[in-house]
Symmetry: C2
Subunit: 140 residues, 2 copies
DNA sequence: CGGCATCCGCCAAGATACTG
DNA sequence: CAGTATCTTGGCGGATGCCG
C-alpha cells in the first residue's frame, strides 16, 4: 500500500494531524485549492523566472491578468508566507514582490509544470481535434 | 538572459511557433489555464497514486467533487489526451479511467506539488495567522 | 505608481431530478 | 452505475473611478 493510499484510507482524520489534499476538509486541501489556480501559479513562475518584480512588471509579465486579480493573488501569496512585499517609500512609491524561501520551494515545483505545458501544448491540441472529430457534438 | 526571459521578450510571437504560458493568447496558455485548476490536478494525482479507477471510486477519492465537476474535468482530460476512458459493456456498466502516457508525464510533475502542500500546510497556516494578526483588517 | 472600493455581468459550480 | 439535463446562485473576474 502506498503512502497516498494509506493517507486516504486514513485511520484518524486528525489524530496525528496528517494532512491530505484529497480530504475535503483538511487544511492542506484549502491551501491546495488556493494555490491551484491559474494566476497564482503564473505569478510564482514569473517571480521564479525573472526575479523580484514590481507590480506593473508582474502585470506585463503575466499576460491578461487584471490589476484586481493580480492584487488578490499577490495578497494571498503574501499572506501564506510565499511572497515578500517590500515598499520603497519614494515618490512615486515603488513596490517590489519577491519569493520567500517557502515560495521559492514551491515555484521550483511549479516551473516544470509550465515548461511541460509549453512542450506538450501542440500534442494536446492535436488530441483535442481528434477527439472533437470523433465526437461530433451530442454523441454519447 | 534566461530561457524564460527570451520567450517573454519574444522576437516572433508565432514565427517559430514557440509556446509561452505567459502570453495571454498562446495556445499553451489556454491549456495551462485548463489544467491549473483544483479538480483536474486532484484527479490526475488520484489516478497517479491509486491507479485506474471507476467513476465512483474517483468521486470518493477526490473529496468534495460533485458528479458534474468530475464528469467535466474528466472529459477535458480525456479530450486533451491525458486520460483514457474505457467502457466495459456489462450490467451495470463499468467505466474505468486511467492515465495515458501524456497524462502520466504530467501527473508525475503534479504529485510533488500535492505532497509539498501537505508538508508545508502547517507552516503556511501559521504564516496566515501572523499576517492576519499584523493586518487587523482594513489597515493599509 | 500601486493599489482599494464599487458595480456588475456572467459563468463556474452546487443541487436536484431523470435516463440508459 | 455512470452519467445527462435543468435550474439556480455565488462569486470570479473585468471595468471603472478614486486615493496615498
Amino acid at each position: 500500500m502506498t503512502t497516498e493510499e494509506t493517507a486516504r484510507t486514513g485511520a484518524e482524520p486528525q489524530a496525528e494531524q496528517e494532512h491530505d489534499v484529497f480530504a475535503q476538509l483538511c487544511p492542506s486541501r484549502e491551501m491546495f485549492a488556493e494555490l491551484a489556480d491559474k494566476w497564482s501559479l503564473l505569478i510564482l513562475m514569473s517571480l521564479s523566472a525573472c526575479g523580484p518584480q514590481r507590480f506593473s512588471e508582474l502585470q506585463r509579465g503575466v499576460g491578461g491578468v487584471s490589476r484586481k486579480m493580480l492584487t488578490q493573488s499577490l495578497r494571498n501569496l503574501e499572506r501564506s508566507g510565499l511572497v515578500l512585499r517590500t515598499v520603497f517609500p519614494e515618490t512615486p512609491p515603488r513596490v517590489v514582490y519577491d519569493l520567500r524561501p517557502l515560495g521559492r520551494e514551491l515555484a521550483e515545483l511549479v516551473a516544470p509544470l509550465g515548461h511541460w505545458t509549453e512542450r506538450r501544448a501542440r500534442q494536446m491540441l492535436a488530441a483535442r481535434e481528434e477527439f472533437d472529430a470523433a465526437h461530433p457534438e451530442g454523441s454519447r
